[in-house]
Amino acid sequence: MPDGAAQLLAALRNPDGGFPPSAGGASEPEPTALAAIALDDADARQWLMDHQRSDGGFVVGPDKVLNDSPTPLAALALAPGAGRERALDYVVAHQAPALGADDRIPHDPNTRGWGWTSMTFGWVEPSARALLVLKLLRPKAEQIADGNAVMSDRECHGGGWNYGNKQVFGTLYEPFLQTTAAGLLSVQDRTDGIRERAIAVIGRLWRAEPGGLGLGQASAALHAVDRADADLDAQLTALVTGTKLFGDVVALAWTVIALGDAIDLLRIRPA
């Protein structure tokens, strides 16, 4: 654990018990959920319970744009019980609508995944986090098959993921470090090669993409699959020491998760 990373994160807590995306902001579900996981933090969990909607979801956004993508992370952060189950019910009931076939952005129109916001396309990161949490907490959910199909469909040539499709207008798009890390966490149980390709992509990209969020999430993904990279962790540690990750709470929380005990919560156990 980088010196003081957990303390840096804890110091960004708001008086209401929640965590903001960056220092001084209002508490929001995603950073609060990640901080609750990273720090095993009762106050953050209480904030989540206080802000869970009656439908089980956790949202941010104006009335017509409800970003419900933090809900899977909040489910993972909550203690076992009714709140967690309602959050999981929300996740299985709120997949993205299927988008029709489009030659410009070829994809499997039978897949759905999960979007950042209600009623929009299923994107890699929100799909990956929903898939991960369902595999961890509701492993018999039928939506897992769709989630796995989405991750296969969106996988870039050679492995890994960017934020969306692997091809647009006939041009292949390359994977990103951070989204590949999110994807690896969600497919860590698969034995069809997709996991190994993602590990290789992370190994190829992490030196070229030295941002705190990417490195923190990549470290977490590699630790989750027991393939930690000491050099990556050293670079992440140096970045935390040198920049405090610029007060990015989500990046700090992933770092603390990656290098602390909380990583065990993200490991998918064989059935």
């Binding site: 960056s22 995603e30 017509k64 950042w116 990161e125 969306g164 647009v168 993409e209 969020l213």
Partner: protein, 356 residues
């Protein structure tokens, strides 16, 4: 009333008052909202947007990012009458993502030069801010692009708009029916917002310039990556609603090296050799499009912006510096956008993208 006071009142007070109004009307109840949604609305309120007047746009030669870039920026801002004295200035470059082998971004050297010029012109505070549309890891982009080091040299902070504190504001026009936006408070409260796009083609919209560049002010943690809500609401409509609400006060287009073909990410570099300056972002985009060999009146969102947001008609734009027609470097366009070419009779498709 001095100019700064007028400027602050016209920008900050409008947005902040609009934010208060939005919260107040939001409390009235869903019943009224449901009724209003059934009443067809004009895309804009003519009382809020009087007919666009004449505009001045400066096109200056700039052969490279080395040399006396600051002098060129200073001259461009002087020619269009920009005044930033005493103001808090927020520079918004295009850093949507980063590829070391490509020219996706507004060149950091131009951004740093503009910071230095703004300070020389008496700006009270200059902040560089961006909310990348494709990447969550903003610090990666800022570091690898070289922007962080250059900003350190000119002593300017960088603000990640994807994680900044937010203010809820009503949208000033009604193209999308989204009704309101959550925008970074720093954007809302800045005295002057400067849109600094890269001169690029765009595979959904034809071209991307200072109006489209405002997508980067909309936070990804609300609207997703790649700001997918805006694409679902319609690219054309969203460009107009975001630009009308944020409304950059100054636009500086990086057309030294642009991107042609499959922009805004996968296109190729083209030496265009110009910077474009103005205080009317619509006029700047119309002029920059001409420099790209594109008829701005055929770019639907620029044409519609010219109806209420700014001046798009060449005969009402006073061009200073280089002549945009004679200085044009025709950018390669995707086949479906050949109709945007000046003099072409080809039809272009509507701009939209739900996935991708």
């Amino acid at each position: 009333m001095n100019r700064l006071f007028h400027r602050q009142m016209s920008r900050r007070r409008f947005l902040l008052r609009a934010a208060e109004l939005g919260l107040a009307t939001g409390a009235v109840g869903l019943g009224i909202g449901a009724i209003l949604e059934r009443i067809p609305r004009s895309p804009w309120d003519t009382r809020a947007f009087p007919p666009p007047g004449r505009a001045t746009v400066a096109v200056l030669k700039a052969a490279s990012y080395s040399g006396d870039l600051e002098q060129t920026v200073m001259e461009g801002l002087r020619l269009v009458g920009a005044d930033v004295s005493g103001a808090s200035v927020l520079l918004k470059p295009n850093m949507v993502e980063f590829d070391p082998s490509s020219v996706i971004n507004t060149d950091p050297r131009l951004v740093a030069a503009t910071v230095a010029v703004m300070k020389r012109m008496g700006a009270r505070l200059v902040t560089v801010a961006e909310g990348p549309g494709h990447r969550r890891d903003t610090q990666y982009i800022v570091a690898k692009s070289g922007l962080r080091d250059l900003l350190r040299d000119v002593d300017a902070p960088f603000l990640d708009l994807n994680i900044a504190g937010l203010t809820r504001v009503p949208i000033r026009s009604n193209w999308t029916q989204l009704g309101e936006l959550w925008l970074p408070t720093d954007v809302v409260e800045a005295d002057i917002v400067v849109s600094m796009p890269k001169m690029k083609t765009h595979h959904w919209g034809g071209v991307t310039l200072s109006l489209k560049n405002m997508f980067g002010t909309v936070p990804g943690r609300i609207y997703g990556w790649p700001k997918n809500v805006l694409h679902f609401a319609g690219l054309h409509d969203s460009i107009l609603d975001v630009a009308s609400t944020v409304h950059p006060d100054i636009a500086i287009v990086d057309g030294i090296v642009g991107m042609e073909g499959d922009g805004p990410i996968k296109g190729t570099a083209i030496m265009a050799g110009h910077l474009v300056f103005g205080r009317d972002p619509v006029a700047v985009d119309a002029t920059a499009a001409r420099l790209m060999g594109v008829d701005a009146s055929r770019v639907d969102y620029i044409a519609d912006a010219g109806r209420f947001l700014g001046q798009a008609r060449p005969e009402l734009i006073m061009q200073v510096g280089e002549d945009p027609e004679r200085s044009a470097t025709p950018f390669k366009l995707r086949p479906e956008f050949q109709g945007l070419r000046s003099g072409s009779s080809v039809q272009t498709p509507p701009a939209n993208a739900a996935g991708g």
